[in-house]
């Protein structure tokens, strides 16, 4: 599994636009074009883009393109060195002009291939091996797809007695009906309850896989106010 990632850091060191395809990780073994579109924050200082590889296996990348919309519908391609991986040499074990986003794990190796490319003579091949600690990620993906198939998601702003509105997500079992009712579980938190948006599903919507599979109304409630 892999994801593309785009992150904007602002001058005040806070994070601006961020998308890591958490809600739509790449699991296909076919060549496909994936894109992330977003608004660059006004106070943007730097923009990162790249890819995350998860688990063992071979990951192939080719032809990263950065485009900026200069006017309505006008996309200008920003020329960047070696985003097509045609320079088939490694510098400090990484492809030239690319940097590790955080730390690179020694369990991932980088090489170039000319036998499986999308465009041009070479593509980048990332190989993950001897990774044993990814059970958590696998569980997350399995649950995320279960949740998508079995729950509907709704978002609400619930007004408290003092007028303050509390943001609440409700995951409703798809087969809930007047004769097939379910109990409701709250999880009230001061932290984020992302992903936000009606079509974006979390994997861990409840305290355990058993409970998520038995189904009930999963109700994360954000914001602990007074």
């Amino acid at each position: 599994m892999a994801m593309l990632i785009v992150r904007v850091d602002k001058k005040d060191k806070k994070m601006g636009f961020f998308n890591n395809m958490q809600d739509r990780p790449i699991q296909s073994s076919e060549w496909k074009t994936y894109s992330i579109e977003g608004k660059i924050d006004e106070e943007a200082d730097s923009l990162f883009f790249g890819a995350i590889c998860v688990n063992n296996g071979s990951f192939y990348f080719d032809d990263f393109i950065l485009q900026i919309e200069t006017g309505s519908g006008n996309w200008q391609t920003i020329s960047l060195p070696n985003t097509d991986f045609e320079k088939n040499t490694l510098t400090d074990k990484l492809p030239e002009n690319w940097k590790p986003f955080y730390n690179t794990s020694p369990k991932f190796g980088y090489s170039f291939t000319s036998t499986n490319t999308y465009k041009g003579s070479y593509s980048l091949k990332v190989t993950g091996k001897e990774i044993e600690d990814n059970a958590g990620m696998n569980t997350y993906l399995r649950l995320q797809s279960f949740v998508k198939n079995n729950y509907n998601k709704n978002e609400y702003q619930i007004t408290m007695r003092d007028g303050i509105k509390i943001y609440t997500i409700v995951y409703t079992p798809k087969d809930a009906s007047a004769i097939n009712t379910y109990p409701m579980m709250l999880n009230r938190t001061p932290y984020s309850i992302a992903p936000y948006g009606k079509d974006k599903y979390n994997g861990f919507i409840g305290p355990s896989e058993t409970m998520i599979k038995e189904k009930y109304f999963c109700t994360p409630v954000s914001g602990a106010d007074i």
Partner: protein, 247 residues
Amino acid sequence: MSEGIWTNMTPHIANKKSNRDVDESSDTFDAIEWLLKNVPHHNGRVGQSGISYPGFYSSAGSIDAHPALKAVSPQAPIADVFWDDFHHNGVFTQGYFWNLPIFGTGPNKPTETDWYTLFDKPTPDAYDFYKRGGTLKQLGDKYYKDNFLWKELTEHPNYDSFWQSRRIVKHMRNLKPAYLVVGGWFDAEDLYGVLTTYKEIERNNPGVYNVITMGPFGHGDWSQEDGHHKHHQLYWGDSLGTFYQKI
């Protein structure tokens, strides 16, 4: 995404006089009331669980509970933040110094992104950082002049009324729901919260269904399967999270 002002361990108001007197108990009550009225096809029974701060919200929300709230599971909950979490047995937990922006700044308006900025560590080596940083006061002056949690921690070095009012377990009386308290023996945030929560419910609520389960886990680690369960070099077994969730 929510409105309101974040307060660390919102004090419980035992005698509410108006709609301005709100706390986690009233917010939980109001949320349950609204959900039962507006979300169709529930069976009228509500549970609440959460780990860490959400464990505290589970405890707090179960006081003067909505009658539909039947089962509550505080997991690795904070019980009294002077004795656990940011303090350990009354002493400031220096290891959390870096995390103070999360709890001591905003968000003062709804946000979809992180409201806090952690400062750039001059060195990844915590020992070296504290050695070079001087006294805690010097560190606080340097990094946290505007951090309200740092202000609270330093203005109240003793167990005064500020902290006493945040001891949620003293309000856990006349409880109605059933309780499953959950914790891990390797929780650095730490054991006081989970053990005190269980003990106080048990002592002050005779007849209430109250059980505790503890396993070889760090903070909340039972909730997400890690496959090969280890603590540092100690290996405990495979798929323990899944096993633990089932029991």
